[in-house]
């Protein structure tokens, strides 16, 4: 039975504990960032950030401010197209772990040509993998496979102070997602789950995905 995340954005306060904890667990160095007129920093996923919180603000139909937070990470698709594309060039460059459903980059990934690596990244419906020029590897969330294999929660989930994130067996997470969705709909009539049939990371959004991030949903 694959594992699944639930990310209930209606409970997220964008504290970015997940973003920083992810870096800490994976021992990723800090980027030299700059203030560019946004709290979203680093501005995008990169080889040293497998997870970032995206910020998006807009005015609703009543002219009220809405500020949405989107902790962005690999969705660990149930049928991962990145694995298919990579396999055509280098079998085993990307694999799907049978037990957890985690989509993982292997050492063989470094043997992908830059063009093939780009093709793999471009194929991602959620714009996730990033190419590391130094190591020639594709980089992205690995579901904390080391922790999960040892029976622990992914670092981001463990860090979340508000209960916005949960992780567990897919069946349980789907049930929890439905329960949370019912609750959220009372306050947010447009609340919905993003692509729940296709991914292992269930995002619960309060309104249309376009108000979060252009790649929040596929299609």
């Amino acid at each position: 039975m694959p594992k699944t995340f639930l990310i209930d954005t209606t409970r997220c306060t964008a504290c970015r504990g997940c973003q920083v904890a992810c870096k800490e667990w994976h021992d990723l160095p800090a980027n030299q960032t700059k203030q560019r007129g946004s709290h979203q920093n680093p501005p995008d996923l990169n080889p040293y950030n497998y997870k970032i919180v995206r910020f998006h603000e807009h005015l609703d139909e009543n002219n009220n401010v809405v500020w949405n937070f989107f902790p962005d990470q690999c969705r660990h698709c149930l049928t991962p197209i990145c694995v298919d594309i990579a396999t055509m060039a280098v079998p085993g460059a990307l694999v799907q772990d049978e037990q957890s459903g985690a989509v993982l980059v292997t050492e063989k990934c470094a043997t992908l040509s830059p063009a093939d690596a780009k093709a793999v990244a471009d194929a991602c419906p959620y714009n996730i993998p990033r190419y590391d020029e130094k190591t020639h590897m594709l980089t992205k969330c690995d579901m904390c496979i080391d922790r999960v294999s040892a029976g622990m929660q992914p670092m981001c989930v463990k860090t979340c102070p508000t209960g916005a994130m949960a992780f567990g067996e897919r069946k349980e997470m789907l049930a929890l997602a439905q329960q949370r969705l019912e609750q959220a709909k009372k306050r947010y009539p447009k609340a919905h789950l993003v692509d729940p049939e296709d991914v292992s990371v269930l995002y619960l959004l309060a309104e249309e995905a376009e108000h979060y991030y252009k790649h929040a949903a596929f299609g």
């Binding site: 409970r11 306060t13 964008a14 504290c15 970015r16 504990g17 973003q19 920083v20 870096k23 800490e24 160095p29 800090a30 980027n31 030299q32 960032t33 700059k34 203030q35 560019r36 007129g37 946004s38 709290h39 920093n41 680093p42 603000e57 807009h58 005015l59 009220n64 401010v65 809405v66 500020w67 949405n68 937070f69 102070p161 508000t162 209960g163 609750q183 306050r187």
Partner: protein, 808 residues
């Protein structure tokens, strides 16, 4: 907090005001979200739409520095709409107390004002006394001079129109908050107010909180589950440091600093021990002499005897009216009246207002000792930008200090829980915790006194001191010991054994305790209660998330303060579904009650619930504050307006300020500085950032100083998102990156457009290219009660600049 973190989940309405809880106390939102799940209304009233606002039902923008107007309007609404909880107000507050003729209020000034000293003669704010010396009370509230009616008249000026005009909040938004929050004035409903330094850092900081107290008392929200006035405090351990008086005006356990006019312990005790003439008032502070004597025994041990006044004479005495706060210390430094000093656990050269002044003041020291994790703007002040190190005379000693995780001890959380933490790792290099710096230092000084003598060696030589610091030993000293064999309830405690409760502390010198509030935290029977992690609870306690066996809470493990006000005169909970305590079969069940006495219905043994007040009643009329018995709106020391609707008194008549050449102020409605600046912190950096700027992964997330502003202001000033800008006040100029956002909007104040901008204060020059102290802009004006600076509101201007020197 009167209540505690978990208890927030019991609220029906949560008003977050003067706080950005989601960003600065992230864990609070765990419990706020639980309340929301259960249907609670969540409101954020704040100048800026923040991450807190994003999770609330709605956000109400308010011009910084106008909270009392907003809250005064709510008080007026409560009275006019009769939303107040009558049984509670009449029985448990001083609403019925009749005011003496000497009390008056006219055009913004209370009676007794002396303009020359900017102080009040508070004896004018008195009650009428009966022949026994007790206040005259009119429980029918018919007397026009009873507190309730005087209060109603006071706030009748706070109409929607007036409040809206000065706060910049629309009448619709005012009504929305008033109606939702005041719906908790019913016995089965509770509303909580969460605040932080957004309320305290004003020239009317104390009165902001007083205003919330009036509201919560009128609605019957104090003492109940899901209610209270909850100051959110966190990792800086403000709760613990306040309890233990890391302060200049108090001794540990909330006792006044001894003054020169109290030369003997008898003088001190007499002046500081209140007497009540109300028969059913517990007047808990009548016990103060027991706590003060035990404190002296804790400090001086066997050297403290009845014959020598328990060494009271060795304590330093303050002068009446003198201000020993940090702000005044910096002023004295500037005047060359201080030669050296120790600065630990604070980075004033970044976090204090008018930082240019502070930095110049520090130059006057001959020597400075700083205890820090990293080099800071304070330790390295001598080599700051535009300073010539060759001309600096200050010799600086930087003592590397241990990080929180490199030491063991206790922290008192916001809910007053005492929690023990263990040392995770050894301090790196030569780093030590503060106590391991101080203890050997004091021992060295003691040795010098012993061998070489000196002026007045007794205060140090008679100290009940230690050779080597041990956290557990000091936690036990705080709890306190018996100084001679003593029998308590049939059990004999030997000299040197721990005192089980503060009710066992004595005035005769037979007990010691470094803080009476913490007596009972470490006992012979149960050991170190700060280590308890037991979730056992009764079904009644489970209903409100009360865990009496998890850690320990002052006082006497009482989790919700003033909980006797959560029950009626017969001891029955106002809200049986969320009962805090209940009188059942002749005893209290639930939380530890505020005192053992039976309910008020017992005319002989019952006691009024507000036991820390001399007269047992909560103070709607509060004559103890220096700047007035009722909160009144005054503009910040720097204001964008020249008048307000409530009186001709534009600013607080009592606020404190300095007059050095650095302490310039903008004029009211100054065209040179038309924009309101408010300052704050953020999740990613901790306070002034001295620690977190040295954590690369946090600096990555918030790398440089920014200024948040509206699209409207940006357009007016020709500023685009991401541009470099210069912000200027009467005191200094600061570079920042413009963050243009819909989360800030212009206000309409007294008919004109007022812009407000916001900046964090977490950046300083020791972190390269990130920007420098925002506080170079803020104002050296202070609340008269606390001397807290008004860093939340001052006046500035802003313009685009092409070349940045502080940010790259």
């Amino acid at each position: 907090m009167t209540n505690h973190w978990i208890d927030i989940k019991n609220s029906d309405a949560i008003l977050i005001m003067g706080s950005n809880a989601a960003e600065h106390h992230p864990v609070s939102f765990k419990w706020i979200m639980r309340a929301k799940d259960a249907g609670a209304a969540l409101m954020h009233v704040d100048p800026k739409f923040s991450r807190t606002s994003a999770r609330c039902d709605f956000h109400v923008p308010i011009r910084s520095g106008t909270d009392i107007a907003f809250l005064g309007g709510m008080i007026n609404y409560i009275i006019n709409s009769e939303s107040w909880f009558k049984d509670y107000v009449i029985n448990y507050t001083n609403a019925s107390f009749v005011l003496a003729e000497s009390y008056g209020f006219e055009d913004g000034l209370f009676s007794g004002y002396d303009a020359a000293t900017r102080t009040y003669d508070r004896s004018k704010w008195a009650f009428e006394w009966d022949s026994q010396g007790a206040p005259v009370r009119d429980f029918s509230l018919q007397n026009p001079r009873c507190v309730f009616n005087v209060m109603a008249k006071h706030y009748s000026r706070y109409t929607l129109e007036n409040v809206s005009a000065i706060t910049g909040v629309s009448p619709e938004n005012l009504m929305k908050v008033y109606e939702i929050f005041c719906a908790t004035g019913k016995p089965n409903k509770a509303g909580t107010i969460l605040y932080a330094i957004g309320w305290t850092q004003h020239t009317v900081g104390v009165q902001n909180i007083r205003a919330s107290a009036l509201i919560q008392l009128l609605l019957g929200n104090i003492g109940v589950a899901g209610g209270g006035i909850n100051a959110l405090r966190g990792e800086p351990n403000v709760q613990g440091s306040t309890d233990h008086a890391l302060l200049y005006h108090a001794l540990p356990g909330y006792h006044n600093l001894p003054l020169a006019q109290w030369q003997t312990l008898g003088d001190y005790q007499k002046a500081n021990t209140p007497v009540t003439h109300i028969a059913n008032s517990a007047n808990w502070w009548s016990n103060r002499p027991k706590y003060v004597t035990s404190l002296l025994k804790g400090w001086f041990g066997d050297a403290a005897t009845p014959e020598n006044d328990f060494c009271y004479g060795l304590l330093p005495k303050g002068e009446k009216g003198a201000d020993y706060s940090y702000m005044y210390a910096m002023d004295r430094m500037l005047e060359g009246k201080m030669r050296g000093g120790f600065i630990f656990g604070v980075n004033p050269m970044n976090s204090f207002p008018n930082t240019n002044k502070m930095r110049a003041a520090l130059d006057h020291l001959d020597w400075l000792v700083v205890g820090e994790l990293h080099n800071s703007e304070t330790s390295d002040n001598w080599r700051r930008p535009q300073s010539d190190p060759a001309k600096q005379k200050t010799e600086v000693f930087l003592l590397p200090s241990a990080h929180r995780v490199e030491k063991e001890g206790t922290i008192s959380n916001s809910g007053r829980w005492l929690q023990w933490f263990d040392k995770a790792i050894e301090p790196a290099g030569q780093a030590r915790n503060f106590a391991d710096m101080y203890v050997p230092l004091i021992n060295k000084i003691r040795e010098l006194y012993r061998t070489e003598g000196g002026t007045f060696p007794e205060p140090l030589l008679k100290l009940n001191w230690t050779e080597k610091y041990d956290a557990g030993e000091w936690a036990r000293r705080i709890n306190g010991f018996f100084c001679k064999d003593t029998e308590v309830n049939g059990k004999v405690y030997k000299r040197g054994q721990l005192v089980p409760s503060f009710v066992n502390l004595k005035e005769d010198g037979s007990t010691s305790s470094l803080n009476w509030l913490y007596t009972g935290s470490w006992t012979e029977e149960e050991g170190n209660k700060a280590k308890r992690r037991d979730t056992t609870q009764t079904p009644m306690q489970a209903k409100i998330g009360l865990y009496p066996n998890w850690s320990w809470c002052w006082p006497v493990n009482r989790r919700i303060l003033y909980n006797r006000a959560s029950v009626d005169m017969n001891g029955k909970p106002w809200n049986p579904e969320k009962a805090v305590i209940e009188w059942k079969e002749g005893k209290w069940v639930g939380d530890v009650p505020d005192g053992p006495w039976p309910p008020m219905a017992d005319k002989e043994k019952g006691r009024l619930p507000f036991i820390m007040h001399t007269d047992g009643s909560a103070q709607l009329f509060g004559p103890g504050r220096l700047d007035g018995p009722f909160p009144e709106h005054y503009e910040p020391a720097e204001t964008p307006v020249a008048k307000h609707p409530f009186s001709k008194q534009l600013t607080s008549p009592c606020y404190k300020f300095h007059t050095s050449k650095f302490d310039a102020f903008a004029q009211p409605a100054d065209p040179k500085f038309p924009i309101v600046l408010t300052t704050y912190s953020m999740t990613e950096h901790w306070c002034g950032g001295g620690e977190t700027r040295n954590v690369p992964n946090l600096l990555e997330a918030e790398p440089q100083l920014y200024v948040e502003m509206s699209h409207e202001l940006a357009k007016e000033k020709g500023i685009s998102n991401g541009d470099g800008v210069l912000i200027e006040s009467a005191r200094g100029a600061v570079e920042a990156i413009a963050m243009v956002t819909i989360r800030l909007r212009p206000f309409t104040v007294m008919g004109k457009t007022v812009h407000l901008i916001g900046m964090p204060f977490a950046y300083g020059w020791t972190t390269p290219n990130c920007g420098d102290s925002t506080n170079r802009l803020t104002v050296t004006a202070y609340d008269p009660n606390t001397t807290i600076p008004e860093t939340k509101a001052c006046c500035v201007n802003i313009r685009k600049i092409d070349t940045l020197t502080e940010i790259a």
